[in-house]
């Protein structure tokens, strides 16, 4: 079960006791160490003193705005952050993701989804458990980032420079959401951060080339209103 040797430490910052409870139980059962904080202030203190490997931050804290907490955190820490949010307003999520959060889960959520996010985020370079993503091969899709080669079922696929850049961003954060603004800013620069329709067409083209444009894309998943996620289908 554990694919990392030292037990990762996870800090849960949420004011709802019941939510902390089931998260604690579940995480502990998977071998993680769990720290709990009820308020943002407490959370920041624990983050600074206990060096958690992942922070799970609830956006509905009574004493602070999620974005503010994140901004503050990011001034001195790169620790991965997963946000819990009840909000349906996608723009809120995007704001916090752009402010430095790595992924999000919307309440109510199933435990499996949550655990997957945690695992994924722990694989990031910069966390104690790193992973090398210079090469992707799941038997169907093969991507060599260094040599800029992409092939699907053996056939070479030609991607334009920008298309490749988008794919690269997605693939270097496997299973993690990348916000639209992030993609647009990286590829097209800060002046195009609002051209989400453009991005949508773009991703559609990429899907087409990867022969992944059926109703249920296998590789590039759309997180409506937030961004896109590349699903890692490599066997473990």
């Amino acid at each position: 079960m554990n694919n990392h040797t030292p037990a990762a430490r996870i800090l849960i910052v949420d004011d709802e006791a019941q939510i902390r409870r089931f998260l604690r139980i579940s995480l502990k059962s998977q071998g993680y160490q769990v720290l709990e904080a009820e308020t943002a202030a407490q959370g920041l203190v624990l983050a600074a003193t206990q060096s958690p490997d992942v922070i799970v931050l609830d956006l509905g804290l009574p004493d602070a705005d999620g974005k503010t907490v994140l901004k503050q955190l990011r001034t001195w820490s790169k620790v991965p952050v997963i946000i819990l949010s009840v909000r349906e307003t996608e723009s809120e999520k995007v704001v916090v993701l752009d402010a430095g959060a790595n992924d999000y889960v919307t309440k109510p959520f199933g435990i499996q989804e949550f655990l997957a996010r945690v695992r994924n985020v722990l694989r990031l370079p910069g966390s104690t458990a790193g992973a090398d993503v210079g090469l992707y091969d799941d038997g169907h899709l093969h991507i060599d980032l260094a040599r800029r080669q992409v092939s699907v079922a053996g056939d070479t696929v030609h991607l334009t420079r920008k298309e490749f850049a988008v794919l690269k961003t997605l693939i270097t954060h496997p299973d993690q959401v990348i916000t639209q603004t992030q993609l647009l800013r990286e590829i097209w620069g800060p002046t195009h951060m609002r051209d989400t329709h453009y991005l949508r067409n773009f991703v559609g083209k990429i899907r087409q080339k990867l022969r992944d444009d059926s109703d249920e894309p296998r590789y590039i998943q759309t997180e409506a209103g937030v961004g896109y996620r590349f699903i890692n289908r490599q066997p473990d």
Partner: protein, 922 residues
Amino acid sequence: MSSPGLAAIMRWWSSSSRDEFRAIRYNWSMDTTSDSRPVPQVTRSGIRREREGALKIFLGASPGVGKTYKMLETAREVHREGVDVVIGLIETHGHTEADALCEGLEQIPPVQINYRGEHLREMDLDVILKRSPGVVLVDDLAHRNLGGTRHPCRYQDIEELLGHGIDVWTAVNIQHLESLNDIVARITGVRMHETVPDALLSAARDVVLVDLTPRELIERLHRGKVHVPTQLRAALEGFFSPSSLAALRELALQTVAERIDRDVREVMRDQGVTGPWPVRTRVVVAVDGIGNSEEVVRRGRRLAERQRAPWSVVFIDPGGTGPEQRAHVERAFALAERLGGETLTLRGHDPIAELLIFAREHNATTLVVGRSRRRPFAGMFGRTLSQRLLRQGGEFEITFVPSPAVGERRRHRGLRHRDPARYYAFALAVVVTAVAVAAVIQPLLPLANLSLVFLTGVLLVAVRTAMRPALFAALASAAAYNYFFTEPRYTFAIHRTDELLTVAFFLLMGLTGGQLAGRLRNQLLALRSTNKQTQALLSLSHRLAAAVDIPTVYREATTVIAEHLHVPVVLMAPGENGRLVQTADSSQDTQDPGDKGRLAAQWAYDHRQPSGFQTNTLSGIAWRFLPLAFEEECFGVIGVSRPGQGTVSSEQLAAIDALVNHVTLAVGRTRLATRLEQAKVAEETERLRSALLSSVSHDLRTPLASMIGAATSLRSLDDALSTEDRYELMDSLITEGERLNRYIQNLLDMTRLGQGTLKLERDWIGIDDIFNAASRRTRELLRGRQLVRSIEAGLPLLYVHPALIEQALVNVIENAAKFSPEGGEVRIAATAEDSELLITVSDGGPGIPPEQRGKVFDMFFTGGDGDRGKYGSGLGLAICSGMIGAHGGRIEALPGPHGRGTTIAIHLPLVELPAEDKEDLA
């Protein structure tokens, strides 16, 4: 109050409430010297329409020149070109050629009117309006309508047609023009009574001169081709003489020439060609109601026209003017308004001074005055008015309008105000008393001083009655003094010089004193009258300002106006379908203005113009309706009943206008206030709604998140979980489910409370039962905390809706649990106080700051920063408050025991057990 001040107030008061009204009515003449052109959308009758109809006038010098013929000819031409032309009313008088021209044009049948036994035909205005043609031909612009029609004059019918966007062609003779009335009378010897305001001619789009030389006209007359109106038949010779016709022809040509001149100037102005525009001056016309006031007005107007200056007609009221004089002034004013001038009434005892002040203030350059009648004693007591005017008004150009024939003047003298006979009787009585008193005190005083007794008498008469009886008293006293007291007694001869002088000086004093006192009295009367009117206005203002809703405004309005005018007043406001409905009236029983009255009221409302007596519309009824018009809206009409049979003075009409203005403003203001209130309520509702939405979103989802999280954990991580873990998760499921239930219950209760559908089903229940139920429901919540109960023994039963009180208590306990630290205490207690049961729930938490203690019971009050407040969804305590309140109790937040934490105190009223039950229980 000094006289100039008084005059200034009067000036303001008379003119301000009328200016607006005039400006709409006769837009063009007010603007003759302003830079902007008249606003084309506002028609002569004040109705705003997209496009006003165009008026084309066929002008002739006299009957018989062929105006009707020319009009019909032109109509046929345009009809051939496809224009929708109809004949409204044409009098061909059996002229076969004209009749032939009528063929082929649609004729609107006239309406038959039975007038004093005669069958007459009048133009059918309503049918024409309904038909709404492009152009309608209406002959004889100056015609006076007979009884039963909407307007008294045909030109007003035509104005209404124009106002509805219908073009009108009409024909008129030059002699019917208002301003030329006097000149025509002098030329022809016949004074026209059917007149047409000059404004109509000036505002017409086209004026076509139909010209015929006098010789040709006379020829036609002899051939019997001219229809001579009844009025002229008697003066046929005079009217149709070559010289008269020539003069009339010249008049017509002159009028048209002036018009062309004006048109040219307008074109020049439009194209930016600067002309020698005159400096803005004004012509002031003074009328006194005694002399030839109407002619003075006409003269003034011609002068103003020539100078292209605005003109005003003023009447300076020294007080004590009689009704006949006033009526004369009214007629002159009415004429002035028709001719397009401003009218004002000034108050002041010195007409010349007032006139000059007014003229100077208004930058007048020319004064037009009627020649004053010769006054007796003029030489002795000062110059005649004319002389004084010439002397003091040196900076003005003064025109004296000659008075008409002597016969007229003699007639006018009879208009002088007569003092009642009883005044003279009083004066006589006073003199007699004075004689008696003097006789009695004669032994005590020297002769000369006896005159003081008589002087007292004269002053008494002056103060109590009027000036002339006082002068009479002075003369009588002098005579009596002479007769009874000077040597030789009982004769009118005076032998001693000193006594002669005494009598002479007494007479002097008496006359002067009498005059002064009389003048003072007049001033006082004028002041009182003004005061009364101002008071009415003030009173109305106050009462309207205090009125908070529209019905009150209406009520106050009708009451005050009725009180001031001493006549019944009604107010009609639009009902559902836009038609007027009587809303308020001044007397106890409902006034009914009658069918015609309602028609007039509706007309006034639709056209936003007054109707009824002394207006141009439906003037035969006994009511006058004034619209309450405010900017674009019309709120309704106020109807004023006519007092008695006489005419109402223009002052009173102005007073009514001012009062109605006030009412309109008050209604406008109240409406705005209501709308503001509604906007505020809407804003508040919106705020609550969005708070509710965000609350629902969050507070429903949170327990669900825990439930789904716990359930999925149980399912997927089963093998990794210990038994303890499993039980914890399952507990979590249950607890959160219950919490969800509570929240949903809260929402439902809140909805019911809000809608007022919360029904109390009361029952007798003990507080301990309620406590038990609440404790059971909150057990999980209170885990880790101590619940301490202290219920007083022997508490009476509560008569309440058990579930609601239980819910309220649960909410309070939930709140306390949230704020109690781990291991802390939550205390609930119940005691009886007087007629109330007091329940308290205390926690040892951080407490509520004093300034928020009242607010915690507000809906959605959470009192914290951040995404969500500290105190929960904000509904719980609000619902408590609602439920307790529904039982007649109250709830409050207090500092906790020993000043730490919070205590929520609930007071519930205790109800007496019914007597029989008490006995049963005993």
